[in-house]
Structures are given as C-alpha cells and as structure tokens.
C-alpha cells in the first residue's frame, strides 16, 4: 500500500477523531491523529503534513491557539478547522488568520474531501480514493 500524503487530525472528541481518521485513510491519505493540540505539537511531524484538520474547541490549547503557534513556528501547513459550534465570529477569526476553511460539524465527507483537495492543489492525485487500495 503506497503512502498517501500525510494529513494530521486534531480533535479531542473520540467519535469525530476516530471516524475522521478512518475516512481519510479510506480516501488514501496517511493519517496521524491527536486528541489535543499539545500532543500534536509534541509529535513534531506537522511540517511533513500537507493538511491539518483540527477542531477549534478543545480543552487546553484551542484550535486557534494551535494556528497561532504554528504561524509563530513558521509552519505553513494549510489548516481546515472543524467545529461543533456554529460560531460565526470564531469562524471569521480563524479564516482571517489564514485558515483554509472552517466546517461545521456534522459536515459532509464530500465537502471535507473537496476542501482537502483544494489545500493540496494539483499535487494530490496520490490521495485519490482509488489509490488507497
């Protein structure tokens, strides 16, 4: 099985994290998922990722905090936020900070995949679902 592009998932919610991990794997990506922003930073492999899918509301370091920290570290990985809160203020805030998108949970897998494809630009053919098998 070829290694697809690396996508990092950060979500403290088990249901979301696990299902997202599986879905992205099904789409053919290599997935690393973490239950908190802190764990993700400690892992230190975010630089290898072609996309970061992160929850906003998390205990401790929030998605926004993570975004700022990555910027501070010079990481330019595209970020797709997912949030269970339909908070427009927060949404526009993260988009202003440079996030690629902010999806509301529950979200459709197609929308997510299209957003991730957009993040990867043209270099994502390896990530196509049919290459996963």
């Amino acid at each position: 099985m070829t290694e697809g592009p690396l996508i990092v998932v950060v979500d403290d919610d088990e249901s979301v994290r696990e299902s997202l991990h599986e879905l992205l794997r099904e789409f053919g990506f290599t997935v690393r998922s973490f239950a908190s922003a802190e764990e993700c930073l400690i892992d230190g492999r975010i630089g290898e990722a072609c996309c970061l899918v992160s929850d906003i509301d998390m205990p401790g370091m929030s998605g926004c905090d993570l975004q700022q920290e990555l910027r501070r570290r010079g990481e330019t990985v595209p970020i797709v936020f997912i949030s269970a809160h339909a908070d427009d203020v927060l949404r526009s805030q993260v988009l202003e900070q440079g996030a690629l998108a902010c999806l509301c949970k529950p979200f459709s897998d197609i929308v997510l995949l299209e957003t991730i494809r957009a993040a990867l630009g043209g270099a994502v053919t390896g990530g196509r679902s049919d290459t996963g098998q």
Partner: protein, 697 residues
C-alpha cells in the same frame, strides 16, 4: 300707797320688759342678747339685787351662768372668775325643780364655808333661786336673785323671778329649735356637699339657685357661690339644650324625670351626664327643679370602649376569617364567636358541642383533631391544620390554635381561634403552580444558555455517525467488500448513536414538567449529569471545573430534575460570574458533602465577581437583580425548590473575589436505591475529578 304705786309701776315695767324680751325671742335674736337684756331688766326692777342665770347651754349642753349684765360665761370660766361652786343654791333648785330661798347666807350651812365667804365678800347676803323648767318640766337651768341685805323676796320679786324664768325657758326652747333646725340644715348641707353627685336647684327659667361643690367642680369652678344666679342652660351642650329646656319645664310642672345630656364645662370640656330630677317648692312658693346629676363620661367611654373592642374583634375576625372560642374540657362547654359559627357552617346561636365540631372535620383529617384533643388532656398548647367537610360538601382548610388557661377555680380552659385558610391554601397552590411554571420557564431559558453546549454535545457524535456512514459505504462498495472494517465502523456508529441519544435523553429528562418529590436522588449522579450537559460551555469559557465528593453518601429525597435545575442554576450563575475575569484562574469547585448527619450539601464556589455581603439575603428574592444579570429568577426559583425539599440555600461572598452558592437538603430516610455500591461511586467521583484535571485553566 307709795309702795303700791311703785309696785304697780314695777309690775308694769316687768310686763313691758317681759314683752320686749319675748319680742326679741320671737324675731330670733341670739339667746345671749336676750339673757343680757333680761339681766339688765331684772337688776333694774329688783331694787339693788343682783341677778344670775345659770342654764344648760343649748349649744354645748353645759351649764352657763349669767352673773351680771353683759357678763355671761360658761360654767368653768364663771367658777374661776366668780367663785360659784358646783354645789350651791342654784344647783339645788335645779335638782329639786323647786325654788330655794336662802334668807341669810351668813347663817347658811348647807354649802361649803368657801361658798359662803365668797358670797359675803361679794356683798351678797341673801339668795333666792327658782328653777327654769321647760313646758315638759325639763330642767333648763335656774334663775337667781342675790340681795345685799338678808331677808326673803317680796311678792313682786317672786313674780319677777317666776316671769323671767318662764321667758328664759321660752327663749331656750326657741334656741333649741333653732339649733336643731340649724343642725339639721347643716347635716343636710353636709350630706349634699359630701355626695359625689352634682346636686342643683334650678328655676323654671334655668337660673341656678343652689349647687353643691360637686356640681361646681364639675362645671369647672371650686366655688359653688360663683354659679348661683347663672343660667344652667348655658352649660348644656347646644344639641341637647332644647331637650333639656323642655325637660326642666316638665319637672317644674310637677313631674319627676330622668335625662341624659352633655354639658360643656367652663374649661370647654364635654362631659356626659345623667340626671334624676324632682320638683321642689322654693322659698317663694314657685316650683323649681331639684336635680341630682351624675358624670357618666367615664362609664360611657368604658362602655363605648367595650363596644368598640367588641366591634373591632368582630371586624378582625371577619377580616382574618377567624373565629374565636372558649372551651372547658372538663365540662365540654364551648362558647364561640359568630364568625366561628360561620366557618363551621353552624346556625348562629345553636348550642355547640364537641360532637358537632368533630362531626364537621374532614374524615381524612379526623386523626389530627383526635390527636389535638388527646393533647388537650395534658393541658398542652394546641395547634393544628385540618380540613372541614361541611354538610353541603364544602371543604375548608382551617388552622386551629388554642392556649390553655386556668380559671380562678382551677378549671382548665382553652381560649383559641380557628382561621379559615382555604383561600390562602388555594392561592398558595396557585402560587406554587405559578412557581412551577416559572421554574419551567427558567429551565427553558436555561436551555438557551445551554443550547451552544447542547449543539456541541449532539454534533460531535452526529459528525462521527455521518463520517462512519460514508466510510461504511466505501468499505462495502470495495471489491471485495471490506466486511471486517465495515463491522468495526458500524460498531463505532452504534456507539456514537448511543452517545447522541443519551444527550437527548438527558435533555428530555431535564426539561420535563412533572414534579416527583419522592425519588431517592443520588446528588453526585445528578450533579455529574448537569456538569456533563454544561461541559462544553464550561470548556469553551476556559473554566476549570472540579467536582469533589466524598464516597458513601446517602441519597436525598426529592425530585431529581428539580434538584438538577438548582445545580444547573448555580453552575450557570458561577459561569456568568466569571464573565470578564482575566486576571486570575477561572475555577468552579463543586463540592458534595454531608452538611450534618442527615443533610447533604452541594456548594458551588467560583472565582468570579462576588457580591456585596449586604445582598446575600436578597439574592434569592425573585426579580432581585445584581451584577449577575439574568439570574434573579433562577436563584429565586432555586430557593423555592430547595425549601420545598425541606432544605435551605445560601450564598457567601469571598473576601477577595468569587462567591459560594450552596444548598443543603435532607437525606433519604429509606434504603439506598442506588444499584452501585459505595466503591463504585467513589470511583466515579475520582473519574470526574480526573475530568476536571484534564481541563487546564
């Protein structure tokens, strides 16, 4: 001849003098003046003799001796000055009631030598005495002539003594009558003056002829004389004056009568009077009113006071819907107010017995009244609430209170009141309904505050479910289908579905409306569920929540949902208080512990904006607003819920910042219904603390 002529002249002079003396008596001149004139006349006519009158003083009833013209003294003084002895011819004549003639004092031996010597030294040689007798032969005194020469009295002198002694008796009788009249008048006057009643004599035209001091004092002056001549009508209050004038006319026409009227005193004070009046013949023959008038102001005021307090009692009973009673258990006698008859629906005036009273007690509450009657045997204070079921089917809620007293004869009497609290009960129930409604509204409002959290709680598993479904489709569409993966995914989907439905169930339970007061509620579990609902909200606001509870806590009795409502309110209150706090950790500590042996306490401490200590008691009032906006109703509803659970709720403000809101409710008396053992709960508590630890500030 010469003698005859002189004798005739003397006899005429005596007759003249006697007439003059009688005239003096007749016009009422004082006895002393009459006697002095008599002495003068006797000594003028009795040719050189001196005259002495010794008599029983009509005033003092002592002997008086009149020894010389213009010289009358009582016996003691006369004795001292003139040497008259008690025993002498005068006394002898008085005691013998017969004349005593002493022709020669010098040879007289019947009396003491001292008397003889004093008489001789005084120039008296003979002494002739006649007794003075009244018409009823009472001895009034004696009349004596003292001659400077020894010898017997001449016939003229005898006549003179007899005539003048008679005139003395007439004068004395008159004096006695005058005295008794005067005394009778004086005693009557004294009676009139002493009586506390006002006695007055009024003419037909209202002029005051006489009034006693009680009357003048009442009118406002100590001097009765000042009122004589005044018009009594002027004292009568204007609105009673015509009536009084008419009354006076009737009395002065010969009738007796009685009247109540008011007078206005000289000081302008109004007094209530009652008068008994009778006609009286006045000096000039006209008929006047003799009125005996009594000041009944105090009596009237007392009567009015009594009437007023009775009327007040009736009013109070009407307003308070209460009736009063007096019950003597030993005799079974009951007396009660009209209002009590009304409350019990008994015909007013009917004889009330304990049987009648107990027959109207609602069968369901009979035991309450029986218990009270039992307590009455020991003379205890009684207080109970029960229902009445009247013959017409009406049900009333009443409260009875009775106080035991002992009569002077040692009888136990109960004095008490029965209050009809039906309306209050109904309005209380209505109020309770309103409160429940309010509680519901406040819960629904709480829903608003919770909605973000709820959306989050539901969206998470929902997102998982949707994602899993997509994965399933892909796994099953693959060639060959990845059944193993699909099964795993389906398992996760089921788990997430459960999770979402749990959230919904929790919400449904939280916002249901009915109230169950008899659940055995595990406060820890109840708190955890609320915290669960609020978890996302708390996390989003970056608040560290810590739940601390000791193991092995018994359940409490009550309504779980309501208690959760209170916990929710306290938590939302704490979250609210943390708004804008940036200079210190935002922490909420929830502690569940024993308050005392049979109460559990839930305390929610925050590090937010505190409150003024003065506000501590008002925080739980409905619509009290503080900086913690919007929580007014929540806290008042919470208080109501806790009080209905037989507990209490309170708030304390930290000195520096933050506050603690806590409540305490009684434990469940029954067995612990929790399936989990104490260890399991301990485990839970620790796990929850673990959760708290996971949320850094």
């Amino acid at each position: 001849m010469q003698i005859d002529i002189e004798g005739r002249k003397s006899a005429e002079a005596l007759m003249e003098g006697g007439k003059r003396l009688l005239e003096m008596v007749a016009v009422g001149l004082p006895l002393l003046a009459v006697l002095n004139e008599m002495l003068r006349l006797a000594e003028e006519l009795a040719s050189g003799c001196r005259c002495g009158i010794s008599l029983t003083d009509p005033d003092s009833m002592k002997l008086l001796r009149v020894g010389a013209p213009s010289f009358v003294q009582d016996r003691t003084e006369a004795n001292r000055n003139h040497g008259y002895d008690e025993s002498g011819p005068c006394d002898l004549a008085a005691s013998l009631e017969a004349p005593v003639i002493v022709p020669d004092i010098a040879s007289e031996t019947r009396w003491s030598p001292a008397w003889r010597e004093r008489s001789l030294a005084d120039g008296r040689r003979a002494c002739w005495v006649v007794p003075i007798l009244s018409r009823t032969h009472e001895v009034l005194g004696s009349f004596a002539l003292y001659s400077p020469t020894p010898g017997n009295p001449t016939p003229f002198q005898r006549d003179l003594m007899g005539e003048l002694a008679h005139i003395v008796s007439v004068a004395m009788e008159r004096a006695k009558i005058d005295l008794s009249l005067r005394r009778s008048d004086e005693s009557f006057r004294a009676i009139v003056e002493t009586t506390p009643e006002c006695v007055k004599v009024i003419t037909r035209d209202g002029t005051l002829l006489r009034v006693n001091s009680a009357g003048s004092n009442l009118a406002g002056t100590p001097d009765p004389a000042a009122l004589v001549g005044a018009c009594f009508y002027d004292f009568v209050a204007l609105e009673h004056r015509d009536q009084y004038v008419e009354f006076n006319q009737e009395i002065c026409s010969g009738k007796t009568g009685f009247l109540e009227f008011d007078i206005i005193t000289l000081h302008g004070e109004r007094r209530h009077m009652e008068t008994h009046a009778a006609p009286l013949q006045s000096g000039d023959g006209s008929i006047v009113q003799l009125g005996v008038t009594r000041d009944i102001t105090a009596r009237k005021q007392a009567a009015e006071q009594l009437w007023k307090s009775a009327a007040l009692m009736v009013k109070v009973e009407q307003i308070s819907l209460s009736g009063s009673f007096c019950w003597r258990p030993s005799s079974g006698g009951i007396s009660c107010s009209e209002q009590l008859y009304r409350i019990y629906g008994i015909e007013p005036g009917a004889r009330i017995t304990m049987d009648i009273v107990t027959a109207r007690v609602h069968p369901g509450d009979r035991h309450i009244v029986d218990n009270a009657l039992e307590q009455a045997r020991d003379g205890k204070e009684l207080e109970c609430d029960y229902r009445l079921l009247l013959p017409d089917g009406t049900v009333k809620y009443v409260r009875m209170q009775a106080h035991a007293t002992f009569s002077s004869q040692g009888h136990l009497d109960y004095i008490g009141a029965v209050q009809d609290v039906t309306e209050r009960r109904q309005s209380e129930e209505a109020l309770y309904g309103l409160r429940a409604e309010l509680a519901h509204v406040s819960r629904v409002n709480g829903l608003g505050a919770l909605s973000a959290s709820i959306a989050h709680e539901i969206n998470q598993p929902l997102a998982g479910i949707m994602t899993n479904a997509r994965i399933l489709v892909r796994l099953l569409n693959a060639e060959p289908p990845n059944v193993e993966g699909a099964l795993e995914t389906a398992q996760r989907t089921i788990r997430d579905g459960h999770r979402a439905s749990e959230v919904v169930n929790r919400l449904r339970a939280m916002f249901r409306k009915e109230v169950v007061m008899t659940d055995a509620v595990d406060l820890g579990e109840a708190a955890r569920e609320v915290i669960e609902l609020l978890r996302s909200e708390i996390r989003r606001k970056r608040i560290v929540l810590q739940l601390k509870m000791v193991g092995d806590l018994p359940p409490v009795t009550g309504d779980k949902v309501q208690l959760q409502q209170v916990i929710l309110n306290l938590l939302l209150n704490a979250v609210e208080a943390m708004q804008g706090v940036g200079d210190r950790p935002r922490r909420i500590l929830v502690r569940i512990d024993r308050d005392d042996s049979d109460h559990l306490c839930v305390a929610v401490t925050d590090t937010g904006t505190g409150f003024e200590p003065d506000d501590a008691t008002r925080l739980f009032d409905a619509f009290y607003t503080s900086k913690r906006e919007g929580m007014g109703i929540g806290l008042s509803v919470s208080r109501h819920i806790i009080e209905r659970h037989g507990g209490r709720i309170w708030a304390t403000s930290d000195e520096r910042f933050g506050a603690t809101f806590a409540f305490s409710v009684p434990c469940c008396a029954g067995p612990v219904l929790d399936q989990d053992g104490p260890d399991a709960r301990c485990q839970d508590a620790r796990a929850e603390m673990g959760v708290a630890m996971r949320i850094p500030g």
